[in-house]
Amino acid sequence: MKYNPVSKDIISELINIAGERNVLLDPAQLEIFSHDETSKEEYGHMPEVVVTPRSTSAVAEIVKLANRTSVPITPRGAGSGLSGGAIPIFGGIVLSLEKMNQVREIDYDNLTMTVETGIVTNEINNLVKEKGLFYAGYPMSLETCMLGGNIAENAGGGKAIKYGVTSRYILGLEFVTPTGEVVWLGGKLAKDVTGYDLVHLIVGSEGTLGIVTAAIIRLIGLPAAKSDLLVLYRSPQEAISSVPVILSKGLIPTSIEFMDRRSVETSCAYLNENLPYAQCGAMLLIEMDGRDQSIVESEAEAVGDLCMEQGAIEVYVADNRTTQERLWAIRRNIAEALKVYCPVQSLEDIVVPPAAISAVMPELERISSQFGIEIPCYGHAGDGNLHATLVKDPQMPMEQWQRIEQQALLALYESITALGGKISGEHGIGLKRKDFMKRFMSPVELNLIKAIKRAWDPNLIMNPGKIFDIEY
């Protein structure tokens, strides 16, 4: 694939379009746009220029320019992605939407909000909380991520079992095509079969089909009451087997988070948390929410009882935010705690049919002992979405790790494919898992995807090098 470098002329055109202050060239400033939350050393690549336009028309002009001059363009939100989706792997232009963060409308009658995609997702909830409303398509990365990134990855998160993933809350999009045309897709509509559902083709396309500059999102009533349970089990199997029992009783938790022994130990040691986790082989963190505190608490009790019947060692209850924070801290700090143990790791995002989780656990053990690496595992048990994390032994030489990592990933993906699973549930393919797509996706499906890409982006300038490799 041949792209043109960003010439002086292109830069002066960018300045004309976006204004001098919105065009960054200083290498020190460009550096932070060269990577996301994946390893900078492994995947990072510098952009040639970063543009931070403030309007949809400016975005469209920039895309037209890139398309005309065959310069690659990579859209970017907060840079908190976990698959390298926002990395400008071919250099060129990074188009950061950080300055497109306006709320265009809050429609209380239709319960929608029209916002630009550079808004920090957390901010959306702050804005509507007072009115007792809530945007549920909200992943776990808390303070930093932006709506645009959530849309690009079709982010999931910890509440998907009850509320579903981002796509359920995206009703319409303002979209800039790879040729620089602007179009509104969808609308404030509960039903819409007028033509193909392009909105939901774009959601989750990892920025390869164009740039979403604004979205109509669905708001729902804020569940003010919450009750959390931390359930300790002797084995992962016991923990996982509780999940269908709970769901089949018509109890729908907001989250059912799974943590294996190694994740719990690492996080608790890191937090100095004194829970009696020594005899515990796995934990579930279950959250119930709703409108009325006493109803929610009694439902949580019912869930707790079911867990005890399934052989849980102990069930802890958290009915206020401070105690809830204490429980969630264990889950949220796993990744950070593992990074302190060894920063070199591969955070995976496998997804299997929920009932297959029990079968995944012995596979992880097998791969772990076969390759002599640790694979702590945690994630969203209710969704079958697990963050198995391959962690390098701090003593292991880097070359050996790099070899083993690829082999172990291959083994992992093979075993979950056999179980009916897929290699990414919510983080996306991006750069990181691109090489495995050929092996684990049927050629027919991959060709359909590539055909869509070619039809939308004839010059292949829009976030090239992600999900799949494609030739003219």
Binding site: A28, L229, L230, Y270, L271, N272, N274, L275, E297, E301, G304, D305, M308, E314, V315, Y316, V317, A318, D319, N320, R321, T322, T323, R326, L327, V340
Partner: protein, 735 residues
């Protein structure tokens, strides 16, 4: 064993609003939780229950909604809960609250131990615990970090059914004080307030939750405990909030983006120039702290340079019968604190404040010294502003035992009727003063940062931060005397000593009256066993002039060495955020913030701390704040005078190296840098006359020459010297 735990339901501190009209907290729309510090008390009670068998009664006073907090404590494993709820209780200050709690406890009957958190995170006074003990006439042990039952083992369980009968137990406790851990033996029944170090709270279990949902919680009002509704609540509170205002939080300081080499250098330069004035010129003239202090001790302690003093001796019984002996002028008292045999700097700060107040009121300023002391110390107090010094020299008062001190002061106050009593808001002051105020039946305001005399009425206006420093409240004690307040350490500088001042010294003799107090009090069986000052990883943050703190950004325990090295290169103390203490990276005495220490250093440097409101509450009165954090949006940067947006792992080692090179090139090899302080006192130092006596008597051991009688005898014969000579003595010791 019957254990009573006092808990309070508090709003989550980061969301508190105040009603500017009424000066009370707007509780609606706030999630309420058990005061986090009370959780440690609950946990300690539960551990005692597990080991020895106990029945635990939890009591809370509050609105109906406080039942939630009680239910949670039942879910954790407590046995019984009582909610004190009555419209008549609304608006209670700490005095009125402690009275209701004490009456309730009397009503319940016998108990062995009362546990409570060291303070509540909303009111932040720490007064209710000691005041309850005072009402009940039992010992109060505060800031307790460990508790053991002496000569009891798991085998000798105390049957739970026995909870109505008080068995005599002996507790061994460790109190966390500014100087270290004080080990105390105390007999039951007693009241103990605990700090975080004592226990790590368990989580409520499903089983406990079910029990708590079905448990009946008794609701008691004024009627149930036989109190006149008019004597409780706002109506029965000696103190009134007269004004609420919001402190300026953002300092609007300088921000430096230190992401590359050049910017880091610039940031380090700015840090050095900010620290410079505190450390002395170019960072090198401040290093002679040790010498400086010794000379200043010499200066004030030599009998030659003492202020002119008139001495009298009076027995307490004489005092009691004769009534106030001074003229019509009202008396303002300060309670002096001593450490390791010298006067604590905080007492001199207190004198400076009280001097100003006494002058505007036309009052006599009296410093009270309890325990064996010397005339040197009295001279020191006079030189720093006291008009007279009352020495109650009983050896039994040497160690701080709250009920003994309170008893002695109570008798003295009844005799002399002071208008104002001020104490330092130290672990001692914050224990003694509420105990004494409850005895005297008067109000007390905790941890004031401003005091003034109201024009016209002559009343003491007491201003303190509350709700984690989110608001400032001005409080008045209009109809009760004395007006009492504790004052936050380091919220004022001591006055420069004036050795020309005249003052009187009154020795209160340990006669039968006081002797009786002491023997009675000893029957309470509180025994101070030891002060452990050389404890591993102990830190006296409160008196440090420079504090360097680290937080979660350090990533692991090992990295605290970066903080320790920087602190050591500055002669400062090491602080920490709650999270880093919770994670076990560093010990609790280092913790700064709402559930740790509140400090007012000259310079506060923090790295890898985001600045949660709870942390900011502990540093609002720091003079200069320097923050280092990679996150440009970290709240700490908004309150910093110098905000460095950069990586602590790059900045700290270079800063430390530069500081080390400055000091090693400009001073002697062995001297360690220390912040410079006017007027010549070191942070946290005590002024030890002992070392001076040793000059006079040729003894090499400072402590050997400090028997009270000896000092008294010799000093009385020492002649006054002409003023000029005093001046020259001073001049010699100027640095």
């Amino acid at each position: 064993m019957h254990i009573i735990v006092l808990i309070k339901q508090v709003p989550e501190t980061d969301k508190v609003k105040m009603d500017p009209e009424t000066g009370t907290m707007v509780r609606s729309g706030l999630e309420s939780i058990i005061n986090p510090l009370d959780l440690y008390a609950i946990e300690e009670a539960l551990m005692l229950k597990e080991h020895f068998g106990a029945h635990i009664t939890v009591i809370s006073m509050g609105p109906l909604d406080a039942e939630r907090a009680l239910r949670e404590s039942l879910a954790m494993g407590c046995d019984k809960a009582i909610l004190l709820t009555d419209k008549a209780f609304a608006g209670s200050d700490t005095w009125a609250t402690s009275r209701v709690l004490a009456e309730t406890i009397k009503h319940i009957g016998t108990f062995d131990l009362i546990l409570a958190g060291e303070r509540a995170t909303d009111g932040d006074t720490g007064q209710v615990g000691p005041a309850v003990a005072s009402w009940l006439g039992i010992p109060a042990l505060t800031y307790v970090s460990s508790l053991e039952i002496e000569s009891r083992t798991k085998d000798s369980r105390i049957a739970e059914s026995d909870h109505n009968r008080t068995s005599s137990l002996t507790f061994l406790v460790r109190r966390l004080t500014e100087e270290g851990y004080q080990k105390v033996r105390v007999q039951s029944p007693c009241l103990i307030t605990v700090v975080k170090e004592i226990a790590s709270p368990r989580l409520p279990t499903l089983r406990g939750k079910k029990f708590s949902r079905s448990a009946e919680i008794s609701h008691w009002g004024a009627k149930e405990i036989n109190l006149d509704p008019a004597s409780v609540g706002l109506a029965g509170s000696p103190t009134r909030v007269v004004k609420i205002f919001y402190p300026k939080v953002a300092r609007g300081g300088e921000r430096i983006l230190a992401l590359d080499e050049a910017a880091i250098d610039k940031a380090i330069d700015r840090i050095l120039s900010t620290i410079g004035p505190i450390m002395g010129d170019g960072g090198c003239s401040g290093i002679h702290k040790v010498a400086n202090i010794e000379k200043s001790e010499t200066k004030v302690s030599l009998a030659k340079s003492q202020p002119a003093m008139q001495e009298s001796m009076i027995s307490l019984s004489e005092q009691l019968s004769s009534g106030p002996i001074v003229d019509d002028k009202p008396e303002f008292w300060i309670i002096t604190e001593r450490r390791k045999g010298g006067i604590d700097l905080v007492s001199l700060e207190l004198l400076a404040r009280a001097r100003h107040l006494a002058d505007s009121r036309g009052a006599t300023l009296v410093a009270i010294v309890l325990g064996p002391s010397s005339k040197d110390e009295a001279a020191m107090l006079i030189a720093h502003g006291a008009d007279s010094v009352i020495l109650v020299e009983s050896p039994s008062l040497e160690d701080f035992i709250c009920e003994l001190w309170a008893e002695a002061l109570f008798e003295l106050a009844c005799a002399r009727k002071p208008e104002v009593i001020l104490g330092a808001a130290t672990t001692t002051g914050r224990t003694l003063m509420p105990y004494l105020a409850a005895k005297l039946g008067t109000g007390l305001t905790a941890d004031c940062t401003e005091l003034s005399i109201e024009e016209g009425s002559g009343l003491l206006l007491q201003t303190r931060p509350a709700i984690g420093g989110n608001i400032m409240a001005t409080i008045k004690t209009a109809h009760h005397r004395p007006q009492m307040a504790t004052v936050r350490p380091h919220s004022m500088q001591p006055l420069p000593p004036d050795f020309g001042r005249r003052g009187s010294i009154i020795h209160v003799i340990d006669d039968s009256s006081l002797g009786k107090i002491i023997s009675d009090s000893l029957a309470l069986s509180v025994q101070v066993l030891a002060l452990e000052s050389n404890v591993k990883d102990f830190e006296n943050l409160e008196s440090a002039q420079i504090v360097v703190s680290g937080g979660r950004g350090l990533k692991k325990a090992d990295n605290f060495k970066l903080i320790r090295e920087l602190a050591s290169s500055l002669g400062g103390a090491v602080g920490a955020s709650r999270e880093s203490v919770d994670r076990g990276w560093i010990s609790y005495p280092h913790q700064v913030g709402l559930s740790g220490k509140t400090i007012s250093p000259e310079i506060y440097i923090c790295a890898g701390i985001s600045g949660a409101v709870q942390h900011l509450a502990g540093i609002r009165t720091a003079k200069k704040i320097i923050s280092i954090n990679t996150d440009p949006d970290a709240p700490i940067h908004a309150v910093a005078d110098l905000a460095i947006i950069g990586d602590l792992f790059e900045i700290l080692p270079r800063l430390t190296a530069q500081l080390k090179s400055i000091y090693s090139s400009s001073s002697g090899s062995e001297s360690k840098p220390e912040p410079r302080l006017d007027p010549g006192f070191s942070p946290g130092s005590v002024l030890r006359p002992g070392s001076v006596s040793s000059l006079g008597h040729g003894s090499s051991s400072p402590s050997s020459s400090l028997s009270p009688c000896q000092t008294k005898d010799t000093k009385l014969q020492e002649p006054d010297l002409p003023r000029s000579e005093i001046l020259s003595t001073e001049a010699q010791h100027e640095i």
